[in-house]
C-alpha cells in the first residue's frame, strides 16, 4: 500500500510537471471548442460571398475560407504546388508546345453536403466568367468572352476531359510585326507558352456546380443580383474550407462557423469554433482595441511596432512587406496624355515631361532623397526612435518583392543598390542636365535643359518646380512627401506637395496629367516579376492603365516576354531574364523606389497553436484556439 502511495504521488508530480512544461499550444482542445478568432476589417463590408464575382480583398478574405482553389500554393514558398492542402490539382503536365496543360484533380474531396468535387465545379465557374454576363473581374484572365470581346488574357479554353481531368489551353498569342495575331493553317491562333499563366488559373473559383447550376442555370448575371448567395441544398451547405455558413451584419461584422467536414485541416480538425471579421474605423482604434483584447490578431502599423515590441507581452512575427512605397514620375508630356500604342500597335511619340523627361534629373532626385532618414531607426536604450517609419522599414532598389529577394527564394537579387544619398552628386547631375541657379535665389532654373533644347526654347529660364501628389489620410505617405519636399529644397528644387482625396488622386494618376506622385503597390503572391501591367507599353492608357508613368523600354518588354514564354519555364533561366528587367527599371528610374515597410503581425498572448509563416500567417488557423 505504501509503495502504491509513493507511485501515486510520483505520478501526480510528473503529471503536474507535464502540465506546466508542455506549451499551451500542445494541449488538446476538442474540435470546434477553440473559441472565436476575431479579426479586424478597416474597410467596407464584403461585397459578396461568391468567389466568382468577388472583386475586393474583404470579399476574397471571406470566400477563401469556404471554397477550394484549383491549384493550392505551398505554405512556405507560396508557389503553386501539386496536392497542397485546399487545392484540387494533385498533378499536372504540359504538352510539347507548352500551351496545353492537363490537370489531374484529387478524388478525395467532397463538398460539405457530401457531393464529390469534380471538374464540373471548375468548369461551371469558367463558363460563368466567359459568358461576360457577370461583373466578375476575372474576365481579364481569359482571352475571349462569349460575346466575342477579346480580353487578351492567357486562358484560351478550359475543357473537361473526365470528372477528374481538365485540359487548359493557355499562353500568349503570337503576333506579327504589326501586332496582328498569327494563325496556323486551320485558322487557330498560334500560342506561345506563358510561364506566368499557371497563376491565372486560380482566378477562376471552384464552386459546387450542383447547387450553383440549380440556383442560376445559365443566368449567370443572376449571381450579381444575389451577391450573398450561399450554396445550400437539400443536404445542407456545400462548401470546402476551414469555415462555413456565413452570416453578415452589414457595417458591423461577418461570422463564419467551423467546418468540421474539412478534410485538409493541417491539424486534423478545425479547433476554433467561429471566425469573426469585425469592422473598425481606423488603425488607431484597431490598435487600441487589440491591446484591450478585442481582436485575436492584427497587422501592426509601423508607428506602433516599437511600442508593441517593447511591451513584449504579445506574440509577433515580422517580415518585410510584400509591397513598397515609391515616388513615380510622369515621363511623358502631361499636357497631352496619349496611349503607349496607337490602334495599329505602333509606338506613339508621347513627348517628354518638361522636367522628368530627362534621366539625369531623375537620377539627381534619386540621389537627393535621404531614404535612410525617412526609414529612421528603432529606439535604442535612451535614444528615441527616429524617422517616419521609426526604423520599421527596408531600403529597396527596384520593383521587386522585398521579402523574397532578401531570402533569394523566388527572384534572384538584381545586384543593384538603392541610389545613395549624395547631395553633391545630385547637384552636379542637375547642372549637367542644364538646371542651375542663375539668379542665386536658391531655386534652380532651366539653362539649356533638355526640354528647352529639344522641345520648347521658351522653357529656358523656367524654375525647377513641380507638383508632388499623394493620398490624404495615409500618414506615412504624407510625412514622406513633406520630407521629400524639404530635402529637394536643399538642392534648389521647389516641390508643391499636396495630399488629396484618393478618388481625385486616382483621376490625376490614370489621367496622366500629374508631375510626380507618392503611392505604393502591394505585390501579389506568387510574385510576378515581369510586371508589364505596371511598366509595359500596353498598360500605358490615359484614363485607365497602370503604366501611368508612360515608361517605354523595348528591351524591358522583350526580356519580360522572353521570361514569360521561356520553353520549359525553368525558374533559374527565367530569373536571369527578370533580373535584367529589374536592372533596366533601376537604370531608367520611372520610379524612385523608396522603402518597404516592416510587416508585424501580432497575436494575443492566449492564442495557442499560432505558428505563423512569413506572408502566410494563417496557414494553420484550424489549429488555433483562444481561452475565450
Amino acid at each position: 500500500m505504501k509503495q502504491f502511495s509513493k507511485l501515486l504521488l510520483l505520478g501526480m508530480i510528473v503529471a503536474a510537471l507535464v502540465a506546466i512544461v508542455v506549451p499551451v499550444g500542445a494541449q488538446d482542445v476538442p474540435a470546434g471548442e477553440g473559441g472565436t478568432i476575431i479579426e479586424s476589417n478597416i474597410g467596407d463590408d464584403p461585397a459578396t460571398f461568391n468567389p466568382i464575382i468577388g472583386n475586393d480583398t474583404v470579399s476574397d478574405a471571406v470566400s477563401s475560407w469556404m471554397y477550394p482553389n484549383i491549384i493550392a500554393l505551398d505554405d512556405v514558398t507560396l508557389v503553386e504546388a501539386p496536392g497542397a492542402p485546399g487545392g484540387l490539382a494533385e498533378s499536372w503536365e504540359y504538352d510539347e508546345t507548352g500551351t496545353v496543360l492537363t490537370l489531374h484533380i484529387r478524388q478525395d474531396m467532397f463538398w460539405s453536403d457530401g457531393e464529390q468535387i469534380t471538374a464540373d465545379d471548375y468548369i461551371w465557374a469558367y463558363n460563368a466568367i466567359k459568358s461576360g454576363q457577370t461583373t466578375s473581374p476575372r474576365t481579364a484572365q481569359l482571352y475571349q468572352l462569349d460575346d466575342g470581346t477579346v480580353t487578351d488574357g492567357t486562358i484560351h479554353s478550359i475543357t473537361k476531359i473526365d470528372d477528374f481531368t481538365i485540359e487548359v489551353v493557355l499562353g500568349t498569342v503570337d503576333r506579327d510585326e504589326e501586332g496582328n495575331p498569327i494563325t496556323d493553317d486551320d485558322g487557330n491562333l498560334v500560342l506561345l507558352p506563358n510561364c506566368a499563366a499557371l497563376s491565372d488559373l486560380n482566378s477562376i473559383a471552384v464552386v459546387p456546380e450542383h447547387i450553383y447550376a440549380a440556383a442560376f442555370g445559365m443566368d449567370y448575371a443572376g449571381m450579381d443580383a444575389d451577391p450573398y448567395f450561399v450554396p445550400e441544398g437539400e443536404n445542407g451547405l456545400a462548401t470546402f474550407g476551414v469555415f462555413t455558413d456565413p452570416f453578415i451584419e452589414f457595417g458591423v461584422q461577418v461570422s463564419l462557423l467551423a467546418n468540421q467536414d474539412y478534410i485538409d485541416a493541417i491539424s486534423g480538425q478545425v479547433t476554433p469554433g467561429e471566425w469573426l471579421m469585425q469592422n473598425v474605423e481606423d488603425q488607431t482604434v484597431e490598435y487600441e482595441r487589440f491591446l484591450a483584447g478585442d481582436f485575436t490578431t492584427i497587422g501592426v502599423s509601423a508607428d506602433n511596432q516599437n511600442a508593441l515590441r517593447a511591451d513584449g507581452s504579445f506574440q509577433t512575427i515580422e517580415y518585410p512587406s510584400n509591397g513598397y512605397t515609391y515616388m513615380g514620375f510622369n515621363l511623358a508630356d502631361p499636357s497631352n496624355p496619349q496611349p503607349g500604342r496607337d490602334e495599329d500597335g505602333n509606338l506613339v511619340d508621347q513627348g517628354i515631361h518638361p522636367i522628368f523627361g530627362d534621366l539625369l534629373v531623375r537620377q539627381a532626385i534619386a540621389h537627393a532623397i535621404d531614404v535612410r532618414s525617412i526609414i529612421g531607426s528603432r529606439p535604442d536604450g535612451d535614444n528615441p526612435a527616429t524617422g517616419i517609419l521609426e526604423g520599421n522599414g527596408y531600403l529597396i532598389a527596384t520593383h521587386n518583392h522585398p521579402g523574397l529577394s532578401s531570402t533569394d527564394d523566388e527572384l534572384a537579387d538584381a545586384g543593384v543598390e538603392p541610389y545613395a544619398f549624395d547631395l553633391e552628386l545630385a547637384a552636379s547631375l542637375l547642372e549637367e542636365a542644364g538646371w542651375v541657379d542663375i539668379d542665386d535665389d536658391g531655386i534652380r532654373e532651366c539653362q539649356g535643359c533638355l526640354y528647352a533644347t529639344e522641345v520648347d526654347a521658351s522653357f529656358e529660364g523656367s524654375e525647377f518646380e513641380f507638383e508632388l501628389l499623394t493620398n490624404a489620410g495615409n500618414n506615412i505617405r504624407e510625412a514622406t512627401g513633406e520630407t521629400i519636399r524639404a530635402q529637394l529644397a536643399e538642392i534648389g528644387i521647389v516641390v508643391d506637395f499636396q495630399a488629396i482625396e484618393f478618388g481625385t488622386l486616382v483621376d490625376e494618376l490614370v489621367g496622366q496629367e500629374f508631375d510626380a506622385i507618392i503611392i505604393g503597390w502591394r505585390l501579389g503572391l506568387p510574385f510576378n516579376a515581369g510586371a508589364k501591367g505596371l511598366f509595359g507599353v500596353g498598360a500605358d492608357i490615359p484614363g485607365s492603365g497602370f503604366n501611368f508613368t508612360s515608361y517605354q523600354n523595348a528591351d524591358y518588354e522583350r526580356l519580360v516576354d522572353e521570361g514569360d514564354a521561356l520553353a520549359g519555364c525553368d525558374p533559374d533561366a527565367r530569373d536571369a531574364l527578370y533580373v535584367q528587367t529589374q536592372i533596366a527599371l533601376w537604370e531608367d528610374l520611372p520610379y524612385v523606389w523608396l522603402f518597404a515597410t516592416n510587416t508585424m503581425i501580432a497575436a494575443q498572448p492566449d492564442l495557442a497553436g499560432w505558428d505563423p509563416l512569413p506572408y502566410n500567417t494563417q496557414w494553420n488557423i484550424d489549429a488555433w484556439s483562444t481561452s475565450d
Binding site: 472565436t36 467596407d44 463590408d45 461585397a47 459578396t48 464575382i53 472583386n55 461576360g132 461583373t135 473581374p137 474576365t139 481579364a140 462569349d146 460575346d147 470581346t149 480580353t151 487578351d152 482566378s203 450579381d224 451577391p227 452570416f247 451584419e249 452589414f250 457595417g251 458591423v252 461584422q253 467561429e274 469573426l276 469585425q278 473598425v280 474605423e281 488607431t284 482604434v285 487600441e288 482595441r289 491591446l291 484591450a292 478585442d294 482625396e501 484618393f502 478618388g503 481625385t504 488622386l505 486616382v506 483621376d507 490625376e508 490614370v510 503597390w521 502591394r522 501579389g524 501591367g533 505596371l534 509595359g536 500596353g538 498598360a539 492608357i541 485607365s544 492603365g545 497602370f546 475565450d628
Partner: protein, 354 residues
C-alpha cells in the same frame, strides 16, 4: 394647419427635384469615377476590361443628364441600350444592360460597390441611426434647455459662468478627438468592452446581429456615442435657451405676471420658459436632420452602423446610387424637419396661425 402642411409638401417637390439635379451634377463632375476606383490596382487587367464592363453595366459613360434621367425614370424603356451576343447554340441573344426602374418607381438603383439595392443599404442603417440620433437629441434637449433656463435665472452667477465656459469648451472640442479619448480612457484604460464602440456585444450576437437585441439590454453601448454626439447640442441649446430666456424676462407680460403676485418659480418656468422655447422650436427641425446626417464621424469612431457612415463611405467610393439615395432621404428629412418646426411653433405659441 393641415392645409399649410399640405401646401408645404407640394412646395417641397420642386425643391427636392432641384436638390437631386444639383447633387447629381456635382457628384458626376467630381474627379475620380466609380469604375476607376473599383478597378484601381488590378494590374493583371492590362486592357482594363473590368473597368469597361463596369462602365457599360452602369452606363457611366453616358452624359450626366442621361445618367440622371436613368436614375429618375429607369432604363428598362431605353431599348437602344441592349446588345446582342451569340449564345452556346450559336444563336443571337438579346442581353440587357443592368436594368433599373428609376426612383419614381421606387428603384433607387444598385450600389456599385456592394451590388445590392441602394435603398436596402440605406434602410438597414436607419434603425441604428435613429437610435443614436433620437438618444442624442433627447439628451441635448433635456440637459441643454434646463441648463439654459437655470443659467438665465441666475445670470452672472457661478452656474451661469460655469455653463458658459462648458458651452465654449463643448463647441471647441472636436467630437472625433473627444470620441477617441473616451474610447481610450473608458474602453481601454478602464477596460470596459462596451466603451470600445459597436452597438452590442458583437461576439455574443454574431449570428443574430445587434438589431435583434432589445435596446434596453444594450443601453451601455449607447452611452459614449450619445454623449459625444449630444455635448455640442447641449452647449448650443443651453446658450440659445439662456439668451431666449433673458430676452423673454424683460418682456411686459413677465412684468405683468410679477405684478399679479405670481411666485418666481411660476413666472420663470410656466411663463418665461414656455415662451422662450419658441425660437428653440425653429432650431429643432434642422437639428433633427443635423443629428441624423451629421453623425458620420461619431458613427465611424464608434463603429456604429448608421446612415452617416454609409453616406461618407459612398462618397469616398463614388457609389452614386447610394449617394443619391442618401441625398434624397436627407432632403425629405429636411422638409419633414421644417414642417415639424412649423408645427412646434404653433404649439408653443398659440397666437401663430398658418
Amino acid at each position: 394647419m393641415t392645409r399649410h402642411i399640405f401646401r408645404r409638401i407640394i412646395q417641397s417637390i420642386p425643391t427636392i427635384f432641384g436638390v437631386t439635379i444639383l447633387s447629381y451634377l456635382i457628384m458626376t463632375a467630381a474627379p475620380g469615377g466609380p469604375a476607376a476606383l473599383l478597378t484601381f490596382g488590378n494590374i493583371d487587367d492590362e486592357n482594363n476590361i473590368q473597368r469597361q464592363q463596369i462602365e457599360e453595366r452602369y452606363g457611366l459613360n453616358d452624359p450626366w443628364i442621361m445618367q440622371y434621367v436613368t436614375w429618375v425614370a429607369g432604363n428598362d424603356w431605353q431599348v437602344w441600350k441592349n446588345r446582342t451576343i451569340i449564345n452556346e447554340d450559336g444563336e443571337e441573344e438579346l442581353v440587357f444592360r443592368h436594368t433599373t426602374q428609376g426612383v419614381i418607381r421606387g428603384d433607387f438603383g444598385e450600389s456599385f460597390r456592394q451590388r445590392r439595392p441602394a435603398l436596402d443599404i440605406i434602410l438597414e442603417r436607419v434603425p441604428a441611426t435613429l437610435e443614436l440620433g433620437i438618444a442624442s437629441l433627447l439628451v441635448a434637449l433635456l440637459v441643454g434647455i434646463p441648463i439654459g433656463i437655470v443659467a438665465a435665472i441666475w445670470h452672472g452667477g457661478i452656474f451661469d459662468n460655469t455653463s458658459r465656459i462648458l458651452a465654449v469648451v463643448g463647441n471647441a472640442i472636436p467630437n472625433f478627438w473627444f470620441g477617441l479619448m473616451l474610447i481610450l480612457f473608458v474602453g481601454v484604460f478602464l477596460d470596459q468592452p462596451w466603451a470600445r464602440g459597436n452597438r452590442c456585444d458583437l461576439s455574443a450576437n454574431s449570428r443574430t446581429g445587434c438589431g435583434s437585441v432589445p435596446i434596453y439590454q444594450r443601453m451601455e453601448y449607447l452611452l459614449l456615442p450619445t454623449f459625444v454626439l449630444a455635448y455640442g447640442g447641449i452647449a448650443n441649446f443651453s446658450r440659445f435657451m439662456r439668451t431666449s430666456m433673458l430676452d423673454t424676462v424683460s418682456s411686459d407680460f413677465i412684468r405683468t405676471a410679477y405684478a399679479k403676485g405670481l411666485r418666481n418659480r411660476t413666472v420663470w418656468w410656466r411663463h418665461a420658459a414656455r415662451n422662450s422655447l419658441i425660437p428653440i422650436a425653429t432650431f429643432l427641425g434642422p437639428a433633427i436632420v443635423g443629428v441624423i446626417g451629421g453623425s458620420a464621424i461619431t458613427e465611424a469612431i464608434f463603429t456604429w452602423p448608421g446612415l452617416g457612415r454609409v453616406f461618407v463611405e459612398s462618397i469616398s467610393s463614388r457609389d452614386y446610387p447610394v449617394v443619391m439615395a442618401s441625398v434624397l432621404i436627407a432632403s425629405l428629412l429636411t422638409v419633414v424637419g421644417y414642417i415639424i418646426s412649423d408645427i412646434l411653433y404653433a404649439v408653443f405659441d398659440p397666437r401663430i396661425r398658418f
